[in-house]
């Protein structure tokens, strides 16, 4: 029996590296680093795609740090949307639902292996 992670899942071993024969697991080359698939988009391209998704969802970039490291997307700060869209500002349920959807969309960007959100409950500051 042979296991392999899907190529787009990135941190996977190549097929030949780990095998299970009968009940015994043999890890050949298991001391090697997991490598990203070299055909995956580079972090800067992923980061730009993340920005596109945020723009499409009218998330304000102010107060939000956006980064990508080795396919892991990191959002830190405050997710504040432009008004409109029918959901009341500050509605916790709507916000959580939105974040869940946003995470799914970001996960769907080719090359993204994980989305880490550190949504501090910080308020925006006065812009006057």
């Amino acid at each position: 029996m042979r296991f392999a992670s899907k190529p787009q899942d990135e941190p996977g071993l190549a097929k030949e590296e780990v095998t299970v024969k009968g009940d015994e697991l043999t890890a050949r080359n298991a001391g090697r680093d997991l490598q990203r698939n070299p055909d995956q988009p580079a972090d800067f391209a992923i980061n730009a795609k993340v920005r596109q998704v945020l723009a499409r969802r009218w998330v304000q970039s102010e107060g939000l740090e956006v980064g990508t490291t080795d396919g892991v997307v990191l959002l830190k700060g405050r997710v504040e949307r432009e008004p409109g869209g029918g959901s009341a500002a500050g509605d916790g349920v709507a916000r959580d639902r939105f974040l869940w959807r946003l995470r799914s969309e970001l996960r769907a960007i080719p090359g993204v292996v994980e989305v880490v959100m550190d949504m501090a409950d910080t308020e925006r500051t006065d812009r006057s």
């Binding site: 800067f44 391209a45 499409r56 969309e105 769907a108 550190d118 308020e123």
Partner: protein, 463 residues
Amino acid sequence: MSKHAQAINQDRTAEPSVELLLDAAREAEVVLEQEARSHPTYADVRHRLGLLRLLRQDPPGAEREFEEALGINPGYRAAYYGLRLARLVQGMPLERLKEPAPQTAVMPEEWAWEWVDQAYHRLTQGEDATEGLPTPRNREEQLLQHHYAGFFALRLGNDERATEHFRAAASLSLITRGALERLDVAPWARGGERGLEDALQGLLWSPLAEDLYAYLGRIYARNGLRDEALDCYERAYLVFPRDARHAMFRAEVAMAFGQEAEAIRLLTQAIDADPTCVPARIALGYEYASQGFVDEARTQFQVAANLAPGYADVRYNLGLLYVGEGRPDEALEEFRRALTLNPSYLPARHSMSHLLCRTGQFEEGLQEYARILKQGFQSGDMLVQMGKAALALHRADEALQYLERAIFMSPEFAPSYYYIGQAYQRKGLKNKARSAWRTYLEKANEWEPLASVPPDGPPEAPA
């Protein structure tokens, strides 16, 4: 603005169409009032409310809002001009207008506020509003004068003179021409008989209102009403003709609607109009980067970094570009610059730590990761990287600590099991290593295929 926008969802199957009605000004009012209640110390919210009240023909209400804004932030120059406008349009006596401007730094666009303030002032004195304004020094100033001279002529019922000024403005600016035609008030076009007066008198004629129209435009756009959004941006241009801003507003809508080629065209147009427009360069850099145009993206970020050396975000993205190009030293330099500008900038430290480890500088990488932990942030993938670095430094016990935390935090993150297997192996715990690798295989195999990106189109339906 009381006009309701209409968007007709044309159903191709001849089912009855659905008509969406939205009054962006009303929606803005609700949102801003709510925000003002929940954040009573936000002067900018009060200022925007003041503009909205002016737009809704409520100068006394506007005056109160601007006073509130200045009460919160006495140095708020835009609110100062807003307050003067609210008082001027109410025909208040001069002594109520004598407060000096706040002793804070003059805003770059303040020349326009000042001009229009003077014009309204003259108008209340029964004088020609545009007499005595400084001679325009450039096209932007010329345009502003023509737009306002046209409007003040309309107020005095002099349609002929108004038409003259708008014609002159249209000859200077294709955007003015397009805006008047789009709003169906161009005196030279069919349909222009609707009359300048009706349409243009309803605008809030102040350069301060550019921000409000942009805000209303975003509300329309977020509700999928692209045309209404674009109308708002035309109004923004009429009250403050700035070509680069106009292109930026439209580019924002193009980006939101997933029209990437249009977004690039408009952002390029914004940069042509104002080569120092940093937000346009950054946005264009992202657009190019997302489409794989690395050289073009790098150029935009580099120019943006030269124009505005204080943007940590630009430095960070330049660093990412250099990583992608296999230039780790330059990438590290950019990450360090980003962190000098903003020491708590997490993505930059995260990427830098990772790059340090990737280039064999494990000790330095671990130190940077430790700083991130001190900032109060940790994630499964980061702890795995720390574990890997500790393994590379032959510190299996330390690696185990990180990796166990990683598994605790993100039990589904498969690589944690792979590396903890390595750590166990180093410690001679073969069974544990096998068990960890087996879990790795299970977890890695469990991952579901990724969903495709949703098609472009209107933003999601209300929750």
